[in-house]
Amino acid sequence: MSSNRKRLPVGGRIRREVPVNFTFDGRKLIGYRGDTLASALLANGVTLVGRSFKYHRPRGIFSAGPEEPNALVTLGSAGRREPNLPAATLELADGMVVESQNRWPSLAFDVQSVNGLLAPLLSAGFYYKTFMGPTRRAWMFYEHFIRKAAGLGRAGTGPDPDRYEVRHAFADVAIVGGGPAGLSAARAAAAVGARVALIEQDFLLGGQLLAEPSDSAAAGWLRQAEAELEGFETVALMKRTTAFGSYDGNVLGLVKQRDPTDPKPNGEARQTVTMLRARSIVFATGAIERPIVFSNNDRPGVMLASAARTYLNRFAVLPGKKIIVATTNDGAWRTAFDYAAAGAEVTVADLRAVPPAALAAEAARLGVVVRAATRIVDLHGGHAVRQVTLNGPEGQSSAACDLVCVSGGWSPTVHLTSHLGSKPTYRDDIDGFVPGSFPAGRFGAGAMMGTYATADAIDDGHRAGSEAAASCGKSAPVPAPSKLDLDETATSSLREIPSVGRGKAFVDFQMDVTTGDIELAHREGYESVEHLKRYTTLGMGTDQGKTSNFAALAAMAALRKATIPETGATTFRPPYTPVAIGALAGRAIGHHFKPIRRTPMHDWHMANGAKMLEVGLWMRPYFYRQSGRNVNEAYVAEMRTVRQAAGLMDISTLGKIDVQGPDAAIFLDRVYANGFAKLAIGRARYGVMLRDDGIVFDDGTTTRLAENRFFMTTSTAKAADVLSRLEFLLDTAWPDLRVAVTSVSDEWAAMSVAGPNSRAILNAAFPALDVSEEALSHMGLLESEWEGRALRILRLSYSGERAYEVYVGATAGEQLWSRLLEAGRPFDLKPYGVEALGALRVEKGHVAGPEIDGRTTLDDLGLGRMAGKRSGFVGDVLRRRPALRAPNRQRLVGLECIEEGKRLRGGAILFLPDEKPHGHGRGRVTSVTFSPERGHYVGLALLAGDVAAEGSELVAIYPMKAETVRARVVSPVFIDPQGERLHG
C-alpha cells in the first residue's frame, strides 16, 4: 500500500491481509492488524507526533513500550476521549481516532514553540522564583495561563459511555512479564501444578524476543513456549494487562485493556482492574534502555536502539535508510546489523575505545561503518533529523542521517519491586539498580535482576518459577526449558557522560528537563536526588522518568564527584503506568457509588410529593411539596402543623439496639453518663454517652422492656459507631458482664406522631388501646400488637409537643403509616420532613449533631446535671480535666435575631459588638431556624462562657455571604420552657 512507504514487503508480525483504517489529527491513514499506533505512524512516514510539555519542541516516537516519554496522544472523542496515551502501547484498531497534544493551532506549526526561545527564562525553579515569595499574588494571576501553556492532553468532559469493572482474582504464582524469563517461570510453576497468572502488558507474549526477526530461532522458541503454556488448564495468560502496583499481602493491581480489534466485545468492560492476590510472585519485568544525552537529542528521528530493532523486526518498518547507532554497549550493535541487512546505510558510533572484535568483524561483513571512541555532540533537524555532529579521535565531523538509534545501556525495571519500600541497590558490574531484597513469597528473574543474556534469563526464569511454586508447597522435578542462544555478547559497557553542544540536551524528555537544569539544581544546592526531582520536576511526568532516571542520577553524581550509590535512587510509587480513574472506580459510580438505605415508608414518600435528602447512606424526606413551594416555605408550614395540630415523621433511620442479659442494667449504667439501673420497667429515659476522653459521644433514649431487657435508640448518624462501641466494651473491657447487644435497626419501622392532637389520633388509629395520660404518660411505654405484628408506642418528644414514637415490624411500616394518616385526617395530621424536624428541635433547645460535634462536653451543652454526682461511667474521669472545665470554654446558648428582615445562619462567627471582627471570634452559630412562634430567626450557638451573659448583644458574621447581623443571647429553650406541653 502506497501510504505505508516505510513498510517492508515481507516479514514482521503484522497481518498484511488485514488493513486497519485510522486517523491522526484528521489525516486518514492505514496500518495492519498487529501494528501499534506507533508502528503504523512510522510506517506512514509520520515522524512528528507531539509537542513537548514546557518548550513545545517537536517530538517523535522514541521507544516501543510503556516507557515512551514523547509520543503521547489522545484517543477517541467526546466522553470516550482519553489523553496522554503512549502511542507505542496502543494496539491499532479499525476506526481509531487519534489526536496529537499540546499544540495550537497545529502540530506542525505551534505558536507556543516560541517558548523554546524564552527557554533561558523557563529553567528549573523558574515558576517558584518568579511567582512565589513576595510576588505570590502574581502567581495567583499567572497560574491559569501557565498551566494552559504547559500541559498534556485534555480529557473528555462528557459522561463516558463505556463500562469499567473492578474484580478480585487469586493465583498460586503470579508472573509479571511475558518475556523469556517470565515464560520460562510460568512453565516451571505450571509444570508442578501451580495455578499461574502470567501478566503481560503487550498484546503479544515474548517481550524482547519480539524484537528478533520473525523467522529466527527466537521466534521458534517463543511459539513453542506459548503452545506449551496454552496446554496447561491452570495457566491464565493475561495479555493487554499491566501490573500497575504491588501491594502488601502479595497483591498486584492489574489493569486490562479490552481487545480493541474485537468487533463484538460482547459487553466486556473497556478496562478491567483486577486485584490479584497471589501466594507468590515472580517479577520478570525486564529492563528499559537508556537514552544518550547530547544537544537536541529529543528531535524526532532519535529512537532507542532496541525500539528501532523492534519496529524493524516485529512491525517490518524501516524508519530510516541512513542511520547512526550511538552506543556505549554491545546490545545496540544488533540493531546496526539488522538495519544493514535490511538495506540501510549504517554507522556505529561506539563510545568505547575498542569495541569487541567479534562485533567489528560482523560489522565489516555487513558493510557497517564503525567509529570507536566516538560520540554524538549535536544534532540538526526540526521535525525530522537531518544530520549529526560526531566527535571522535579524528576530531569533529558531520554525518547526514534520517534515524539516530541510541543506547546508553539498560536499567532493570525495578518499579514494582520498589513499591513496598524496598530500595533498589546499585550493581557495579551492570552499572544499574536491581531490587534490594525480596520479602517472602516474592522472586525476581531475568533482565530485571541484571541477567541480560536471553539464555541466562530463560534459566533464571526457570529457577524463579520453581522456587515460587515451591514456596506455595508445589514442587517436583521439571525438565529444563529448551535452550535459546542468541549469541549475545556482553562486554562491559561504558558510562556515558553527557556531551552538550549549543542546543539543549535533554535528560527527561517528557518534563523537558535538561542537563542545564540539573547543573542549576546542583549549583543551588538541590543535590539530593529527592530535591533534584522536586526542583527540576525530573521524573514527575506520566512516564515517571522511566527512561530518564539513570541519566539524571549519573549527571548529578558526576557534578557532585560522587558515585551512583552515594547519589542514591528516587522512590518509585504506584502506578507503574497511568491508570484511568474510571477503571479504578469500576461500577462504583452514580447510584452505585455507595449503598442507598431506604426506610420501609420510602415508596410512600416518593408517591406523595416528598423531596428526598441524602443523610449519610439514608434517603429521608426533606420536606413535602404539598407544604410549600420550596424548603423554606415548607418547613415553616410543617412546623406550624406540628405545633398547632399534629405531624407524622418517618424516624425509621434511628439506630435501634436490643440490650439483653442479667447485667444489662449495670452495663447501661456504665455506658451512659446518667443512671439507668433504677429505671422502672415500662419507662424510657433520655441518655447521653461520653467517650473515654470525656467528650460527648451520642444521645438517645433507652426504654426498659423487662428486668433484663432494654431497647436503646441512637442518633441516625452514630448508629453503627454506638453498636460497635458497646460490643467493644463488652469484648475488651467488661467480659464479665452477661449482656448481649444486637442491632434491630432494620427490624422496626418507626414514626413519630407529634402535636397537640397526637393522642386523639392514636385513639382513632388504635381504638383497642388505652393511650390515656394515666396509661401512657410522658416517657411511658405501651407494648402491643397491630395486625399480628409487634407494636411499641413510646411517649417521647423531640419537638417539644406531646408526641409518641410508634414502632412496628418493618414490613408493616407503610401500612401503619397510611393508617395513622387516615385516622389523623380529621385532626389535620400531615407528614413533615427532616428540615422541620431539625427546626422544631432547635426551637425546643435540644442538641443534635451540630452541637454534639466531637468537641463538646456535657457541661458545654448544658447537660452537666444529668451526670450529677455519679461516677464509674465511661468518660467520667477525663471529663473532670481542668481544661474541660475552664470558664472560657464555649457553651451552648440561644440566640435570637434582633434585626428586622435579617436572618441568622449556621456557621456564622460571633463577635462582641464593639470589637474588630478578626479570627475565630467568641463562638459560632451551630443551628438556626425561623421560629413561627417568635416571629423571627432563632438559633443555637456555642459561645465562650466568660464573654456574654443572657440578654447581651453580639454580632454574627457570615463571611461567605458578607452578612453581619445583630443577635441577642437568650436561653436555648425558645418555646414552652416549663415543658407543660409534654405532660397531661
Binding site: 499481602g249 473515654d692 460497635s724 467493644f728 469484648d731 475488651t732 473491657a733 467488661w734 474521669v877 477525663l878
Partner: protein, 93 residues
C-alpha cells in the same frame, strides 16, 4: 491489602473489619478514679516500628472484636485471637 484470618469466619479482606486502636494499653477498671491511669490509656501510645497489638472488629462478619498482632513495617500478621479471650486472660493475670 491486609487479610485477617478471623478465628470465627476464616481469612477475610480488611474491608470487612473496623480498626479499634492499640490493644497493648490497659484499660483501667470502670470505677478507677485515677486520672493518670485514664490519661495513659486514652493518650499514650508507643507507636512501634514492628510488632503491634491492635483491635479489629469483624463488622460485616461475626462482629467479634479481635486482637491482631501486626508488623507495622510490612503489615505481616503474626496472630489473630478473640479480644474477649485475651481480655479474660489479662484480667485473670
Amino acid at each position: 491489602m491486609l487479610r485477617i484470618e478471623c478465628p470465627c469466619c476464616g481469612p477475610r479482606d480488611h474491608d470487612e473489619f473496623r480498626y479499634g486502636g492499640d490493644a497493648s494499653v490497659t484499660r483501667p477498671a470502670h470505677d478507677d478514679p485515677d486520672p493518670e491511669a485514664w490519661y495513659r490509656y486514652v493518650y499514650i501510645r508507643t507507636n512501634p516500628a514492628g510488632q503491634h497489638r491492635e483491635f479489629w472488629q469483624h463488622v460485616t462478619g461475626c462482629r467479634q472484636w479481635m486482637v491482631v498482632e501486626r508488623d507495622t513495617r510490612n503489615h505481616a500478621i503474626a496472630s489473630v485471637d478473640f479480644a474477649r479471650k485475651s481480655t479474660v486472660r489479662k484480667q485473670r493475670a
